[in-house]
Assembly symmetry: D2
Homo-oligomer: 345 residues x 4
C-alpha cells in the first residue's frame, strides 16, 4: 500500500517534492496546503490531488506523512505539531536557524517517537552515493581528508540573504552535512575564514560570500570546504575523499557532455546552472528513502540530530570567523548531552 502524503508549501522546492512523490510508485500525493491559495490549487491540479488547510491535513485519517516546505521560521512548529499528530515528517533543511529551538523541537520528536527526516538532498545524489559506497566497501582504506568544493553559479538577492541565516547556515550547511556523512567520525573543531568578494551588498547585509573551512576529528581526520556564491562556469559541486589506501572523487555533472575542438583549444559547455537540474535524481531518491523508512518503520537518515549537528557546525564556523580561532563543537552545543538525548533512538 502506498504512503499517502500531504505537502505543506507549494513553492519552488514544494514542486520538486510533489513531482518526486507522484513519480514514486509507493507514494501518493493526497493533499497540498499553501498560504497562497493559487499556488496550492495549481499544484493540486497538476497532480490530481486536493487542496487542504494545514489543520485539515493534521487531522486527516488519509494522510500518513507530510513534507514541510514552508518558510524556515515555521519548520520547528510544524514538526512538533505533526509529530504529535502521529504523522511521519520530511522537513526541508534547516529545522530552525537557532540551535536551541532545534534542540527543543527534537525533544518533542523524541518524546513522540516520531519519524523525522531532514532534507539534505545531496546524500542521495547517485554520484555521491556511489562515492560513499566506495568508502564503505573499504576501497580507499580509513578516511583521512575530505575535500568539498561547493560554489553557486551566482549570489541570491540580498533580500534572501537577509532572511537566510548567513552563508554557513544557508549554503555551507549542505557541505557540513556531507563532511559529517563522509568523515565517519564526529567533528571536534571548526576553523573558518570568510570574506566578501562577490557582492558588496552581501557584506553590507552582514554576511559573507566566500568561505574556507577546516573541520577536524579526534583522530586527526580533516575536512576542507571551499565555498563561493559565484562561479561563472556553473554550479560547482565536487567531493574528494583521500584515505589510507587511495582516494575517490565525484566530478561535476554537465547537462551536455560534448567537446568542441578548434584552433582555440578543446571546450566543453558549462556545468548545470541551477541546483534543481543538478540534483534532479537526488530529490527523487531522497523521497524514495523517506518512503522506505516510513514503510519499514525504521529511523530515517539524515535524522533530526543530523540536522542539528550540521547547524551546530554553522554556528561554530561563524564563531570561528569572529574569534579567528578553532572552535570546538562542544562550545556551541553547550552543556547539552546531545548524543545521550538521542541515543535511545
Amino acid at each position: 500500500m502506498s504512503i499517502r502524503f500531504g505537502l505543506l508549501g507549494a513553492g519552488r522546492i514544494g514542486k520538486v517534492h510533489a513531482r518526486a512523490v507522484s513519480s514514486n510508485s509507493r507514494a501518493q500525493l493526497v493533499a497540498v496546503a499553501d498560504a497562497f491559495e493559487q499556488a496550492a490549487s495549481d499544484l493540486a491540479g497538476q497532480y490530481g490531488c486536493e487542496v487542504r488547510s494545514i489543520d485539515a491535513i493534521e487531522s486527516a485519517a488519509d494522510i500518513d506523512a507530510v513534507i514541510i516546505c514552508t518558510p524556515t521560521d515555521t519548520h520547528a512548529d510544524l514538526i512538533e505539531r505533526f509529530a504529535r499528530a502521529g504523522k511521519a515528517i520530511f522537513c526541508e533543511k534547516p529545522i530552525d536557524l537557532i540551535i536551541e529551538r532545534v534542540e527543543a523541537c527534537l525533544k518533542v520528536v523524541d518524546a513522540e517517537a516520531a519519524t523525522l527526516m531532514v532534507g539534505f538532498n545531496r546524500r542521495f545524489d547517485p554520484h555521491f552515493m556511489a562515492l560513499k559506497s566506495v568508502i564503505e566497501r573499504g576501497e580507499i582504506g580509513a578516511v583521512e581528508m575530505v575535500q568539498i568544493v561547493s560554489r553557486d553559479p551566482g549570489a541570491p538577492p540580498v533580500d534572501y540573504i537577509k532572511r537566510s541565516g548567513g552563508i554557513f547556515r544557508d549554503m555551507t550547511i549542505h557541505d557540513f552535512d556531507m563532511a559529517r556523512f563522509l568523515l565517519g567520525e564526529a567533528v571536534e573543531t571548526v576553523t573558518a575564514h570568510a570574506s566578501n568578494l562577490v557582492d558588496k551588498a552581501i557584506g553590507e547585509a552582514g554576511d559573507f560570500d566566500s568561505a574556507s573551512i577546516i573541520l577536524t576529528t579526534a583522530s586527526g581526520r580533516h575536512a576542507s570546504i571551499s565555498n563561493s556564491r559565484r562561479a561563472t562556469y556553473g554550479y560547482d559541486q565536487r567531493i574528494e575523499v583521500h584515505g589510507a589506501k587511495g582516494a575517490v572523487s565525484a566530478e561535476n555533472q554537465r547537462p551536455v557532455s560534448i567537446e568542441i575542438a578548434t584552433a582555440d583549444g578543446y571546450t566543453r559547455p558549462p556545468l548545470h546552472d541551477f541546483f534543481m537540474t543538478r540534483y534532479t535524481e537526488a530529490y527523487a531518491n531522497e523521497i524514495s528513502a523517506f518512503v522506505d523508512a516510513v514503510e519499514s518503520k525504521s529511523l530515517p537518515t539524515p535524522s533530526g540530530l543530523d540536522g542539528m549537528l550540521a547547524l551546530a557546525l554553522a554556528e561554530a564556523a561563524l564563531k570561528s570567523v569572529k574569534e579567528q580561532r578553532a572552535v570546538k563543537i562542544s562550545e556551541v552545543t553547550g552543556a547539552l548531552a546531545t548524543r545521550d538525548v538521542f541515543q535511545g533512538r
Copy 2:
C-alpha cells in the same frame, strides 16, 4: 489540448513509450493494445488508460495518434492502416526489413498525406542534439569526417539474431541514420567489412557480430562506423565529427561519474549496460518532438524516407561485404526515383 495516444504493443519498447507519453504534459495515453492480454492490461493499469483492440483504436474518435511497437513484420501493414484511418503515426524502426515493402508503404503514407515519424531515438539524445547544434551553428566549419563507434555490451540471443534482419538492418541501422543526420549530404557509396569474432552461433546463423563501414558522399565527405556486438565495458556510443574549422565529439555516458584512485591507478565505473538507461532522455525527447509535429501539423523528422534510406544503407552494406567492393546507393534503391516520390512533401 493534449494529443491522445493509442499504443500498439506493450512490450519492452512499448513500456518506454508509455512512460514518455504519460510524463509529457501535452500528451495523453488513452488506450493500449497487445496480442498478450495481460501485457496490455498491466500497462493500462499502471498508466490509468484503457485496453482496446487494434480495430477499436483504428476507429476511435478519441485517438489522435498511434505508436507502433508491435513485431517488425506488422509495421508496414499497421502504418498503411492507420495512415488511411487519419491517425498520426510514430513507428519503431524499421518500417520493414525489405526495402520494396518500405517503399510501397511510404507511397500509401504519401497518398494519404499522413504524418509518419520513425523511431531513430538517438537523434534526440541531448548530447547528440548538442553536437548537431554545434555543426549547424558552423562552429566546426564544413563537415569532413564523421566517426561513429557503436558497440553493444553483449550479443543478443541467436533466436533474436535470426529474426533481426542481420547486424546492418538491426544494429548498424541506427548508426546509418546518425551518419546521414550528421554528414549533411546524401550518401553515395557504402563499403563494409564484417566478421564473426564474438559468438560462433551468430556466424552459424548467417550473421556477423563485428563490422567496419565507410560511407562516402559526392563531395568527398566520409563517415566511418565501428560496430561490435560485445563491449565488456558497457554500451559504447560515441560520435565525433571533424570539419574544416574544428571537431566536435560526444563522449560516452556513465551511470555514475566517480573515480577511484589506488596503487593500481585511476578507475571509473563501466558505462551504462543497456540502451534503455543510456537513452532515457532520448526516448522522452523523441515523443515530445512527435507531439510537436502533430500539434503543428508539420512533417516529423526522422521521416519515413529517413527510415527507408537507412535501410538502403544496410542493404548496400550487406552487398558490399559479399562483393568486397564499394556499393552505390543507387544500386539498391534501383530504378525508383526515391527523391522525387517524396519531394512533394
Copy 3:
C-alpha cells in the same frame, strides 16, 4: 663500449637523431655528412663531431652504424652500400617509394646479413608502447578492432606533396605500420576511400588530403584509419584497440595540461602543433632500441620487411581508391614469396 655513429643528412630529422644519439650514454656521434657543407659543419659543431664525406664514413674503421636521413630517393642505394660496408643501418622511412626497389634492396640486406632498422618512430612513443604492453599482457583479450585517428595540423606545401609519393606513402604509412604492429596478424585486404577537402592544390597535384581506410585480416580483425591533412586543434594522434575482454586507448598529448573554466565553458589548450614536439620521447627511444639491437647483435624492429609491408599497404590503398574495391595485399606484392625470402632472418 659505445656504438659509434655516422649521420647521413643534417636536415630537420637528422638533427633530431643527432640529439638522440648524443644524449644516449651508449652511443657516440662520430661524424656527419651532408651535401650542404654548412648544414654538416653546424651540426658537427653543436655536437663536437667531425664532418666527413659519405665515402669516408663508409670506409671508416671508427664507425659502427649509420643513420640515413638523406632524401628518400637515395635511401635504397645507401642501405645497400652500407650493408656491404658492414655497418649497422638505421634508415628513415620509407626505404623507397617503389616496392620493387625496396624488395631488391632488402635482398642485398639479407645477403649481407646486415642489421637494418626502419624509422617508424611511433612504435616507440611511451604511450603507444604502454598500449601495446597492455595488449601483450592479455588485458583486453584477443584483438578485434584497431582504430587509428591521425591528422596533421596543416597540409604541407604542394612542392613537398609532389615529391612525397602521395598521402598513403607519406602520411598513412605510419598508421599502416601501427595497424600492423597492433593487429597481431597479417593484413589481408585494404579498402580505402580518399578525397580532396582541405586544399585544392593537393588535388591538382594528383594527391588526396582526407582518407578513410579499413584493413582486414584472415581471422576477421579490422583496423580503421582516419586521416586528414588538416586539424585546427593540433596534431591529432589517437589509437584505440578493442578486444574480446576490453579495450585500451592512448589519448592525445598536450604541451600544457591546464583547463580554464568561464561562462563559455571549460577549455583546454590545443594539442601539440608539430610531430617533433609530439614525438620527442619516441625519437629518443627509437635510437635507444637501435643501439640495443646493435649491441646485442639481434634483429631490430621495425625491420626492412616491416618497412616494405607498410609500403605494400600504401600501394594497395591507392589501388583500392582507384578501383573502388577491397584489394588483397598479395595483389601488390605480386608473385614474390615475401615471407619466405625473409624467413631465414
Copy 4:
C-alpha cells in the same frame, strides 16, 4: 658567452642541476665540489668538468655562478661566502630552517648586491606557468580562492624527517611559495591543522604527516592547502585558482596516458611516483631562468625574500597548530621591517 657554473654538492638534486646546466646551451658546467670525493668525480666524469674544492671555486676566475645543493645547514654560510666572492648564486630551498638566520643572510646578499635565486622549482613547471599566465592575462578576473593539493607518494624515512625541520618547512614550503605566487597579494594570516595519520614514527619524531592550511590576505582572498605524506596513487600535485570571471586548474601529470576499459571499468595508470620525474621540465626551466637573470643582470625570482617569506608561512603554520588559532605573519617576522629592508632591490 656561456655562464660558467660551479656546482656545490653532487647528491641527488645536484645531479638534477648538473644535467640542467649541461643541456642548456647558454650554460657550462666547469667544476663540481662534494665532501665525498667519489660523488664529485663521478659527476665530473659524466659531464666532462673538473673536481674542485669549495675554496677553489670561490676564488676561481672562470666561475660566474654557483648552485648550492649541499646540506641545508650549510646554505646560509655558503650564500654569504659566494655573495662576497661576487658569484651569482642559485640555492636549493630552504636558505635555513631558522628565520632569523635567513634574515641575516639576506642582509649580506643585499649589502653585496649579490644575485640570489632560491630553488622553488614548481614555479617553472610548464603547466603551472601556463596557469599563472592565464591569471596574468586576466582570463579568470581577480583571484579569489587558490586551492593546492600536494601529496607525496610515501613518507620519507624518519631519519630524514628528524633533520627536515618538519612538514611545513620541508614539504608545505613549496605550496606556501606557490600560494604566494598565485594569490597576487601578501598573505596576512595562516591557519593550520596537522595530524599524524600515515606513520606513527613520524608523530613520535614530533612531526606531522597530514595537514590542512588556510591562508588569507587583506582583501579577503583565501588559499587552501591539503598535504599528505602518503598517496597510493602517486605524486599528487594539483592547483586550482578560482576568480571573479572563472577558474583555471592544472591537473596531475602521468608518465603514460593510456586508458584500459574492461568489465571492471575504465582505468588509467597511476601518477608519477617521484618528484624528479614529475618536475623534469621544471628543473630545466628553473636553471634557464637563472641563466636569464645572470645574463641580463636582473634580479631573479624566486628571490631570497621569497625564500624567507615561505619560511615565515611555515613558522606561522606551526604556531597555528600549537595555538589553535589564526596566526598573523607579522607575529613570526617580528619587528623586522621585512619589506623595507629589501625594497631597494
